[in-house]
Amino acid sequence: MIVARRLATRCDGWVMTPLGHSVTSTAARGAAGRSALRYAGTGLSYVIAYVALDWISYIHPVAQLAITPWNPPPGLSLFLLLRFGLRYAPCLFVAAVAAELVVRGTAPPPLLVLLSSLLLTAGYTAAGALLAGPLRVGARLGEVRDVNRFVAVAIAAPAPIAVAFVGLHIGLGSLTVADFSHAVLQFWIGDALGIVVTTPLLLEFSMPRAEPRTRFDVELLFQAAATVAALWIVFGLQATDEFKFFYLLFLPLVWIAMRRGIRGAMAASLAVQLGLVAAAESVAEKGIVLWQLQLLMLALALTALYLGTAVSEREAARRSVAVRDAALHRALRMATAGELAAAVAHELNQPLTAIGAYVRACMMMSEDPGSAARIRETLGKTAAEVARAGEVIRNLRGFYRAGTGKRERIAPRALVDAVVESLGPRLAQHRITLDLEQTDDPASIEVDRIQMQTVLHNLLVNAVDALAARAEGERRIVVRLGRREGGAFACEIADNGPGIAPDVAGRLFEPFTSTKTDGMGLGLAMSRSIVEAHGGRLSLLDREADGTTFEIILPFETTETTP
């Protein structure tokens, strides 16, 4: 999977060239021609960039050779091979020869140019092949694992190349044996540094952005200012020891890496390196030991690379988790919607069936002029079924509206009275006694009236249904209104029905939990979310006495007048 993705990005890489060609041609010949053109374009762009980089970085050379303290061209070469493929290896040779001729000015011996260029080409092609092949480092250093492998190669590879390169020059007489260790060290660290700074930067910025774009903001200005300030402190202060404050450079770099990930880190790393090179150049006469500065620069570059990668990796993991979470939530919502639709269909089908049959019956009755009383009675039953269907819809709407209500100030007693009144016929039909006990006079509460009435309605209907198991004459519901400590409003609804089984009580408030055969199991779930949206709490009280008691608590803030 990862390999496949790698391959895909690699192929993608071939399609994108600096000249902006696209591969949409169907004619094989045209594609081949275009492919050759693309190769030439990419190769030429690389050679020009290579020579330019070599020219810019040609400072403090060892014996007028391509040995400099900060040598980015090999970094560019590795970028070319990793990003566009090993088939660009011949371009390395062309670039090396061109750089020798253009940058080094004085005409060097052709044999030396040829051999040293061949050596560099072979060395860095081998390094590129090692990374892209067995080490499987992709065109993007996405993970710390990739960075480890890349850094290992970037630091190790220049060493043998340095030995061979310096050895060649000693053999052909352009360096002396005395220069050996000095030249090798300089070549090694210079190239390693160039690679560590340049290749990841180019790889990262040549690929489509993986992270959301960070906009230009004030923080960026501060980060830039901090970088400049750190550079100024390190080199600008006329300190005797130039490296005394070097550690300060880590601060802006860490800051940028933490905030902006790999892209920011690499850009900052380059900026700091350029600043260091320029600053070192300007104060060169103060006798800075070059390789010490190089080591510090290397440490700085590695810090930026690792930190940036780690931050980006974490960011990517966080994003992928967020994407997965969103997908899961969507799936859950869909499943719930399906369940809800089935439940609602059932709930509506029953009254609709009854309504249909009643209406048909009424139509038949209407043919007999003497049956007005029967028709009236049947229409009454029909109306009750219409109300039942309406209740299903109202409950459903309440379920979705929970938490978005419009609050108004209302006396709790009025709220309860309205609900009890609407349930009056039902209570009478089942011969249920309802008592209202008011221990204290709670202040008016600020609630969504319809939502709160829905809650009370649901709880009372549950109580009525529970009492069906009890003999007539013993059925009793008690509603207690009162205050709790802190002024919280409390409402208890208790019935002396059979109570709720312990195994059901645990998941009582979950949607689609119902003990009724005709219930959707939404009533309590909805009621709880309404009460919680009011900052309160709806719970089942655990009492020794038989029956079921629900308690609604609304907090002080809801019940007291707010200024």
Partner: protein, 207 residues
């Protein structure tokens, strides 16, 4: 003999009540039951008609009731009415012998068509059962010799063969056979063969 009725087994009071009313308006005899258990307690083998059965009910489900009716040899045709019309439920209901499967809300035409079909099939089954029972009663009234002749004739034997088997004269066989056919109210031998086949198919084996 009781009148053919529609037995509505439905836990929803309003649905049950409205269907009873509607069937009553159509001058059909109908009875309602709030649960499968209520129906099982009340049902008698001689009841005729059909059953309108809700699938999801507290206690025994419609499907369980169907199975128990088969076990008790109560063969009232069953029409399922359900608010959960999924394919699995329909398949299970038909496998248990339902004659139709209707989804709520019910369409009046479909409901009455299903009821008419169910009643018709119950009537046919009962007519056939009645004919078999009547035939069985007539067989019981045959004398021993007449019954022996009946079996042999039903097996396809000629009069002469019957005479040999019973060791009587062919003339006597003629007389027994005529009397047997008269008592069984049959006119031709193929009718006799068919009637005995029907008896066997119904699981009864007369001596």
């Amino acid at each position: 003999v009781t009148e053919a009725s529609v037995f509505i087994i439905e836990d929803d009071q309003a649905v049950r009540d409205s269907l009873l009313l509607l069937l009553g308006m159509k001058n059909m005899s109908a009875r309602g039951f709030a649960s499968a258990e209520d129906f099982l307690d009340a049902v008698r083998p001689e009841w005729s008609g059909c059953v309108l059965l809700d699938l999801r009910m507290p206690g025994k489900s419609g499907l369980e009731l169907q199975t128990m009716l088969v076990e008790r040899d109560i063969r009232l045709p069953v029409v399922i009415i359900t608010a959960h019309g999924d394919i699995a439920a329909a398949r299970a209901a038909f496998r248990a012998g339902a004659v139709d499967f209707l989804e709520k809300p019910l369409e009046e035409e479909a409901l009455f068509a299903a009821i008419a079909t169910a009643l018709e099939s119950d009537r046919k089954r009962r007519d056939a059962a009645g004919a078999i029972a009547a035939f069985e009663a007539r067989v019981a009234r045959l004398s021993g010799r007449e019954r022996e002749v009946m079996w042999l004739v039903a097996e396809g034997r000629q009069n002469r063969e019957v005479a040999v088997a019973l060791n009587v004269s062919p003339r006597t066989v003629e007389i027994y056979k005529a009397r047997m056919m008269e008592k069984l109210q049959l006119r031709r031998v193929p009718d006799l063969v068919r009637a005995i086949e029907a008896l066997r198919r119904d699981g009864r084996t007369p001596r």
